[in-house]
Amino acid sequence: MNTPRSRRTWLCAVVALGWLLATPAIAQSEEGGRLIVATSPDWPSLDPQSQGTTTLAYVHIFDALVTLNETFDELAPQLASAWTMLDDNTWQFTLRQGVTFHNGEPFNAEAVKFTVDRVKGQPAGTYFEMITGAEVVDEFTVNFTTDGPYPGLLGRLTGLAIVPPGYIGEVGDDAFANEPIGTGPFEFVSWVRDSHTVLRRNENYWGELARAAEMEIRIIPDSTAAVSALLANEVDIVFAVDPLLESTIVSAGHRVVSQPALRLLYAFLRGDQGGPLADPRVRQAINYAVDRETIMETVYSGRADPIATFTFPGVVGHDPEATPYPYDPERARELLAEAGYPDGAGMPTFEFCTPENRYPFDRESAEALSEYLADVGIRTEIQILEWGVFLERFLNHNICDIFLAGVHNIPLDADQAFTRFVRDGTHNYWNDDPAVDELILAAAREMNPERRDELYAEVNAVLKEQAGLLFLWRLHDVYAAHERVNGFDAAVPADYPRLTHVWVSN
């Protein structure tokens, strides 16, 4: 006889058994199937104007007027089909016709003007400060005015996602941030914060259709767990892979792909507080004392490139003649002696700060650098700062004597990289010379490309002599790709992660 109690137990057992036996639907992916990408952290909002970074969701849901080409090293038209300069401060953009947002709303000059007006009040607005306004000329022509000659404008515009005025006006900013609509190659489907975002191919896209029919972006915070998910066939591409896991991934038949990032790493040397670091010779000595090649080879498994300046090939204004400091500990000791600190005598122990896991191998790099500096007599003490604290002290200019930080070059123009170093610039800790400011600003505002390159070459020479930073390396973005992934042999920059050419097959 079944008492209610035993019946309940029985029911529980059946349910439990059902759970255990339920087999998952095995992902049947063919060309055009679902591409699953693992990354972390999640973005706090899907409003492209709420942050300055270009995320996976952003580059797929939205288009900008200008974009990066297929090899991510030159600017290319996107929603603007052409542009000309009417005068030094006015740019005229001809817009692509027949483009609609995912909800059917037409893309036109009004949408561009709305986007420019809106971004002024948003966190991303500081990137577009130089734009004084956008003026509608006709339905598909719009004029941008800047507060002075600004050759880097096109680069900046790669980060200005065009948003739909009608939709935002109708649903409001908050709803837009949770269910965005753009003109991009993928449409938004769903988002579970800190878990996953699902996108669907925009079948009415104005340009070449994306290869994958769906994209799922999964947030997996732990990097070992993310690679495990790849090995278990649960995800197709993993962002930011630890190079130490390479052999595990490769021996399972998958690939590790890397690509020079749009991000450079430096140690800033604070010359603004007096003391030994205020002497350019000491800062040069620090640059000579460090064996970058060895650190790149051992700590980064070779996945980094040496740099001599703030830019790299592909950036407008890059100086290909700039050469990095060589590793020369003898020269470093000589310079220290000249500056009055033979073998570091009379020098205090410098605080050397680094964030942890903000940049690949940041703490490990700081530790290696600290050893090299000790070799020539420069004593440092490593301090690891939580990122929030680091950022706050950095922006308030009360951070340590030496500190590790990255600078990214997404607009592919030298201006953003260099203008931070004018005397009252956010990244300046060494420059107190009005002539240097003049030079940097003249280069930023120079409209003649050859003259501009010359000016930036001069800036580089000053920079190297002043040695306001310890130039380190250009990082690589490292990815793992499942064997079934196609079109991902050349990787993408993590600061501009466009995957429209990637798909999975069985």
Partner: protein
Amino acid sequence: MTIFLVRRTVQTLLSLLVASVLIFVLVRLTGDPVLFFVDDQATPEQIEAVRVRLGLSDPLPVQYGRFLGGVLQGDFGYSFRNRSDVGPLIGARVGPTATLLGSTLFVSVIASIPLGVLAARFRGTVVDQVIRLVSVVGQAMPIFWTGLLLILYVATRVDWVPTGGLGGPRHLLLPTITLSLYFMARLVRLTRSSVLEVLQQDFVRTASAKGLRDRAVLYKHALRNAAIPIVTVIGLQIGGLLSGAIVLENVFAWPAMGTLLVNAVASRDYPVVQACVLVFVFIFAVINLVTDLFYAAIDPRIRFS
């Protein structure tokens, strides 16, 4: 009983109020949130404008009054970072947190008590030693380590066990095992020692002498009398489970309250931090209350008045 409940409810409300003041002040000692909402090239004027927009330019008592007034009306404020009211943000995490805690509590209590009793019953034998060894190991292994081992050696090899992510019972399996192993270790050892202590008392000898079977002696007499410390520790340990779950959420990509709180702290998202901590305090207070009520159910001598 009613008086007891009223008194405890008032106590709970008071501790929530004290906690709200504490967390409100402490979160403001962690640093300036405004810098997280501007670009690194922002001017002082832009920074000030954001400060006003975030409501952080008002005096602290005004800000606290606004916060408390909101909470009393069920409004936990607005998160600028997430472009969303805090209520729905937390609402979405209550489910995953409750599921994980619930399944862990269920599994570890169901498994540890019989194991503990078994170890006590066969004290000094191989059974006892094996159980004790396993619990020491379970307690010694850090949660993230156990989790990663399970992912590497189980999830990548067994098709139907996912490596992580939100989902149904399959997704819950490894996180629950990981957290339960940690939780069970303590519970098994405690059950064993409590039962052993009771087994040495006179009434147990009497029960055996009058011819009761071992099972009945163990479960009806010994365990019942050993239950008070066990229930106390379960109640207290739920706090530990909450913090252990934060680590676990990261390893298994199970975004619950912990992930929300950690991200909010890292980005100085004050409204979310405040609300999360208040919810944690609330959970903890309720569990303490439930534990007290359990005492009366277990031990007829305890009557609340």
